[in-house]
Symmetry: C2
Subunit: 182 residues, 2 copies
DNA sequence: ATTTGCATGTAATCTGTTACATGATTCA
DNA sequence: TGAATCATGTAACAGATTACATGCAAAT
């Protein structure tokens, strides 16, 4: 499906960048819905260049460090826009080891089950905290049709998802505590 | 990480099964948090057998159709329980093409952005409907420490997740509609 | 009879991670 | 001067999907 291709094209549509800078974006901004390591990005950029979707020019930093500054071509822009307009079937529910363990948690003692849920809850609470921290950079809701609008929307989605995850784990814990004196 | 291994062991812990029956379970019960095709299940069963985690006996259905009925060994049970007790770091947020498109949706017209969100909303509403249908088999909340409890909990989690997803898309749509006469 | 579902397997391919490998620059 | 970060790449491996391949059983 070449999704990485379109993620990279989308980022280069916004701004000319090096592979290293793309990697940083996958680690930060895009992290809530896509990721890629440099070992995947560099070969993909090479391929994209061969396909004529991107170009690059070499820049020298300091005295000799070579950087490849990539930019999207007209062909790349067209392919990106066409991908963006294509209908997208929602993907199968993503795999989730934690939910798999919770599904099988009947093989644990009640105490162990609680531990499992509480451990998960702590981790999701920490992630939620982190997301809310990021959210602070939006003092107000960005105007639609700005680059920040999409940014804002996916971050909001991530916060809502984590909040729900926490509520779910709390529900599970309270069901396990039912009928017991704490 | 061999997660498929433990998913299969967990299912065989519950009941002796053939590869085909395991496949059916991945398509139905486990579908909300794990999946596997038969082309992955059969080789994994072979490997698990070589590792001594499962055994099988051949059963004949009809006159000549051979079925391999697998069962978990003591070694398999131990490895499964040890996996279940191991602490689990929550995994990186799963990749999501739809969110990626929404992130980049500023390159579309407002009308197209609405279409994108509405299309996603329709699909998630359908999935939610389907999940609520499944939920009907639970006339009441199962007792903790029954096999149905885990089943109930993960289904509840799936329903909550889809409800949140729908709420999020609705929020996005209403932001796009802001300040317009419909 | 024919289609659908049961039942099992392998091969080719794609996607992604971890590990290997190198070297320059910047900051403390 | 040493550590962290910038910068780019390849190789090996793991995990998963799609396609190839076969044959029996049950229902219409």
């Amino acid at each position: 499906m070449r999704t990485l291709k379109y993620a990279i094209l989308g980022l280069l549509y916004q701004e000319d960048q090096t592979g290293y800078e793309l990697m940083k974006q996958f680690e930060s901004t895009l992290n809530e819905f896509w990721s890629a390591k440099h070992s995947q990005i560099y070969p993909e950029l090479k391929k994209l260049n061969e396909e004529g979707c991107v170009e690059f020019q070499i820049e020298i930093a300091g005295t000799s460090l070579e950087k490849k500054l990539y930019s999207i071509t007209e062909k790349g822009k067209e392919e990106f826009r066409s991908w963006l307009r294509d209908e997208t079937k929602i993907s199968a529910t993503p795999k989730d080891i934690s939910r798999l363990k919770i599904f099988f948690s009947g093989y644990l003692s009640i105490a162990e089950q609680k531990e499992l849920l509480m451990d998960q809850l702590r981790q999701h609470e920490a992630r939620l905290q982190h997301l809310k921290e990021n959210q602070k950079k939006f003092s107000h809701i960005p105007e639609k049709n700005t680059a920040e609008f999409g940014d804002y929307l996916v971050l909001l989605g991530a916060v809502m998802r984590e909040e729900t995850q926490c509520r779910w784990l709390e529900t599970g814990l309270s069901l396990l505590n039912d009928g017991e004196i704490s």
